[in-house]
Amino acid sequence: MIQVPIPHVLSPGIVPLFAIVLTLGAYLLGVEIEKRLRNPLANPVLIAIVIIGVSLRLLHLSYQDYFTGAQFIHFLLGPATVALAIPMVRALEHMRRGFWPMMSALLAGSLIGLISGYAIVRLLGGSQQVALSMAPKSLTTPIAIAVSASIGGIPSLSAVLAILGGILVAVSIDPVLHWLKIAEPSAKGLAAGTAGSGIGASRVIPQHTLSAAFAGVAIGANGILTAVLAPILVPFLKHW
């Protein structure tokens, strides 16, 4: 039996602290790399996940070990979600002015995400269960898991897809919308929140307070819309 030297360095007592330092350090490094490269692929969330994933493997630490410390950072997602109300209140007048377009864009995005996710998996020969797990991928992870379970998908697969989809939006939103010549912060925020929920939104929130406001609305509204629409639409999708 080969003795792993790591436990001598990382006694169990300091693993939580190590996990927090590792997470902050990896993210800061990601931000620094993003600044230097100015390439959308150099996304700090993606870089941090890769650095931490490799570190844990090298140090023989499990995800459970890591989470004993990382949970404190994870916990802040709750108050941060609540904090999205603040840019929303500030942007109230903007929302009133763009109310119907905003509602139409939300409904269309919600339906397209749900139906195209299911349909493309089926067209390419994927199983119905995989297709149903794909359907709620644009939602914020806890809602994606709940919707997936209620329509017959695999909740853990939906959670993975929700996070990967969010990263994909964070990475692609600037080049795609630049190519389409769409620059308004309201359209950007709404699209980021609808297609990529929190992770997608984290990319555009620092860009403009209106992006933050519309992203917040989109995360909540798409979650609620899809939670209501998915159980109604799925029987039709299965037939077809």
């Binding site: 969330v45 493309i120 309201s186």
Partner: protein
């Protein structure tokens, strides 16, 4: 003090949101209810949030990406789930996500441009 007050307000509304969730037995997470309740609170009182709360919210949201890292690391452990059908999963995830992004952005761009005009100009 003002920072503690901001944290208190955010956590208080999260707690209220969790309670609403528990009472209504819905799939909507507590923090999303908390967000709706906090927005409704200020809209109904016709008041702006205090500068201290605005500042705390903005700084917390400026680091939103960081807060997703712990959950993101969890997917590394679950990547094997994708192996069973990686081609349909990969193509569908990319195509459907980009399609959703474009649809939402384009409708808002085409019909809702007024929403982005600064208040003084509107």
């Amino acid at each position: 003090m003002s920072m503690i007050k901001s944290i208190f307000i955010l956590l208080l509304f999260q707690l209220a949101g969790e309670s609403v969730r528990a009472l209504t037995h819905t799939k909507i997470p507590g923090p999303v209810f908390g967000m709706i309740l906090l927005a409704a609170f200020y809209v109904l009182r016709r008041r702006e949030p205090s500068p201290a709360l605005q500042q705390s919210a903005d700084s917390l949201l400026g680091w939103l990406g960081l807060l997703f890292v712990p959950a993101g690391v969890g997917i590394v452990a679950n990547l094997a789930l994708l192996r069973s059908a990686w081609l349909p999963i990969g193509v569908a995830l990319i195509a459907s996500t980009v399609l959703t992004l474009i649809t939402t952005a384009w409708i808002m761009h085409r019909f809702g441009r007024r929403a982005s005009i600064p208040e003084e100009a509107a």
